[in-house]
């Protein structure tokens, strides 16, 4: 064909003209239209798409909020309330943004949980997984700085507590904190830079999300059985099957989101953040947003400040090396009876940490948080590596189609119609 032009398959002349020069349509068709996807996803596979929707909602509402927000210690609190009162549908924008952060974390926690349960972090998806952990870290930084912007009591004291963590590092700690603050306490320079970074980081997240998806489209998706598709009988095109299935999840997501925004918009927040920031008055209990509570519990479980900080960062750093801590070649926990129990316990344990993280640092919560922290680390550092060696997994199904199609009659017929050379 003609040199330099992409051979487009589109009939519409305008689309064809564009596609020949920049094959965006071909790419979309390949990656989201005919993209071969395991036929056995359950609804847990909705959450990647839901996370992208969450990110888009956050960026859109955030851009409009920033048009009316004033990043100054003297005006920030009132400017947020002004958005709620005097900007057309400003209350809607703000409540969607505030609860959107919670929705984003719920979705991403379930997405991570799914990856851990079905072994999506294992070869060949290690880099895909690590990019996901980078996104998670960036989300935490973004959410933390976003919570500071309304400049309420929890904004101010949360920022003070979290930035002060860095002072635990010997020698350089104090300098790091001063550098983060842009001064000698959390003040106007801190608020300004947090606003700037809070606006910047979501676009960095979007960039890493692109890499995350690009890596996904190299390896293809994992599936609940954790076995590779062996041929066309095991896969279906992404569209219309998973576009329609994701849409069902999206509806449930929107309903949960709407109930939060319209009926209990402040349920997941803290009343103290409607008190303007006051450096002279410390709230009785300083607690971070709910999605940070498990890590806050780990931080407080250790009597030593530096130890607590290291353990807290370590609890997330462990995720980076998870693909190498788990030596079992079997991905899905469905076929790993012992790991399955250990991981479900890990899940319960995570909620215990979340619960005690929101409680004051007193008994019995301190002791509970210590046991929970111990199990959190033991799961990654002892249980998974050990079970990888000694566990006897259940027999894996022959193929996805054989496992999920009724009476096993389907796969044989379908396998027969598949052309052998198309098999991966």
């Amino acid at each position: 064909m003609s040199i330099g032009l992409h051979n487009s398959e589109f009939k519409n002349p305008v689309i064809r003209w564009v596609d020949s020069r920049l094959p965006l349509f071909t790419m979309m068709q390949k990656e989201y239209g005919t993209f071969p996807t395991p036929r056995n996803f359950n609804y847990f596979w909705n959450f990647g798409a839901l996370a992208i929707v969450s990110l888009m909602i956050m960026i859109l509402t955030g851009v409009f909020l920033s048009m009316n927000y004033t990043a100054h210690t003297g005006y920030a609190f009132d400017s947020v309330e002004r958005i709620m009162r005097d900007v057309n549908y400003g209350w809607l924008l703000r409540y969607v943004h505030a609860n959107g952060a919670s929705m984003f974390f719920i979705v991403v926690y379930i997405h991570i949980w799914r990856g851990m349960y079905y072994g999506s972090y294992k070869a060949p998806r290690e880099l895909l997984w690590m990019l996901g952990v980078v996104i998670f870290l960036l989300m935490m930084a973004t959410a933390f700085m976003g919570y500071v912007l309304p400049w309420g009591q929890m904004s101010f004291w949360g920022a003070t507590v979290i930035t002060n963590l860095f002072s635990a590092f010997p020698l350089v700690g104090g300098h790091i904190v001063t550098w983060l603050w842009g001064g000698f306490s959390v003040d106007n320079p801190t608020l300004n830079r947090f606003f700037s970074l809070h606006y910047l980081l979501p676009f960095v997240i979007a960039g890493v999300v692109f890499l995350h998806i690009a890596a996904l489209h190299v390896t293809g998706s994992n599936n609940p059985l954790g076995i590779d598709p062996k041929g066309p009988q095991d896969t279906i095109p992404f569209h219309p099957y998973y576009t329609s299935k994701d849409s069902v999840g999206l509806m449930v997501y929107f309903i949960v989101f709407a109930v939060l925004v319209f009926f209990v918009p402040n349920m997941l927040g803290h009343a103290d953040n409607y008190i303007p920031a006051n450096p002279m008055v410390t709230p009785t209990h300083i607690v971070p947003e709910w999605y940070f509570l498990p890590y806050y519990a780990i931080l407080r479980a250790v009597p030593d400040k530096l130890g607590g900080v290291l353990l807290m960062f370590g609890s997330i750093a462990l995720l980076f090396v998870l693909p190498w801590l788990d030596g079992s070649p079997v991905r899905s926990m469905r076929f790993r009876p012992l790991s399955r129990i250990a991981f479900l316990l890990f899940t319960v344990n995570f909620f215990v940490l979340l619960y005690v993280g929101g409680k004051p640092a007193e008994e019995p919560f301190v002791t509970i948080s210590r046991f929970s922290t111990a199990y959190y680390f033991a799961y990654f550092l002892v249980i998974l590596p050990l079970l990888g060696r000694i566990e006897r997994p259940l027999p894996l199904p022959e193929s996805i189609a054989r496992a999920v199609l009724p009476r096993g009659g389907g796969p044989i017929r379908m396998a027969a119609t598949a052309k052998p050379m198309e098999k991966a």
Partner: protein, 258 residues
């Protein structure tokens, strides 16, 4: 199918646990149980009873406003609780607000306009402290959002004054209150029977005034509440119907696969 249901149940459990755990994130402290006072703004269909909110505004204006500012509200906002244009103008014109500088460079005072913010009782925080035995009366604009329990807490606080139990040591100039954290509050009991005279002849008991002003403060904190809930009901209903349709489409599309 059995295998598919287990993860789905887990997902539901996760969501439920987040909802349960979130309130736990709130600071615990010593447990204070608020009486279960009902308000017209309760529930997803709750609205602000206009008569009660207006009485509450009267209580705020005649009692609370001598110490507590309401910086986020303008007089024009009172239209939303049913005051007529003339009434709003009259309320605004009742106060003198600082303005200026004029052509001679002088600051001056003039009668308030509907676009003015509620006049603050003290020029600044130091003046407020000086007049209140060192205590700073908080701004009341969003107080219902800034306290656990919202209007229920405010009503409880206003009616919760009592003699301290035996052995309880009160600080100098402090007052015992059953519902205030720590039970020592600088604010003297603000409401006394028949302190205000309601135009609709509602008996001005302490409980009634506390109820009305608590509802008024709920409105000042969440003026969008009625619009928000009405929109929410429509949107959730719409999403429910759309969700059923989307699920039907999904079933149709997947029918040939099973």
């Amino acid at each position: 199918m059995r295998m598919l249901k287990a993860p789905m149940l887990t997902a539901m459990a996760l969501l439920g646990a987040v909802a349960l755990a979130a309130p736990a994130a709130r600071a615990a402290g010593d447990e204070i149980h608020l009486p279960a006072t009902g308000f017209s703004s309760d529930g997803i269909f709750g609205t602000f009873d206009r008569a009660s909110v207006q009485r509450g505004f009267q209580v705020y204006r005649e009692v609370c406003a001598s110490c507590h500012s309401m910086n986020l509200l303008s007089y024009r906002n009172l239209r939303d609780i049913g005051l007529t244009e003339e009434q709003v103008r009259a309320v605004a014109a009742d106060v003198q607000v600082p303005d200026g500088p004029n052509d001679e460079g002088q600051m001056f005072e003039r009668p308030g306009r509907p676009s003015d913010r509620f006049r603050r009782p003290f020029a600044n925080a130091a003046a407020a402290r000086a007049a209140n035995n060192g205590a700073l009366p908080p701004d009341l604009s969003v107080i219902a959002k800034a306290r656990e329990g919202g209007p229920r807490y405010l009503h409880a606080l206003l009616t919760g004054y009592a003699d301290p139990p035996a052995g309880f040591v009160l600080g100098e100039g402090m007052h015992y209150n059953r519902y205030f954290p720590g039970h020592q509050i600088a604010m003297a009991p603000p409401l006394n029977p028949d302190q205000v005279e309601f135009a609709d002849h509602t008996p001005a008991t302490v409980d009634q005034m506390a109820r009305d002003v608590a509802l008024f403060l709920h409105w000042t904190a969440e003026p969008e509440l009625e619009q928000r809930r009405q929109m929410g009901i429509k949107i959730v209903l719409f999403l429910g119907v759309l969700g059923v349709l989307v699920y039907g489409v999904k079933r149709r599309i997947w029918a040939d696969l099973h």
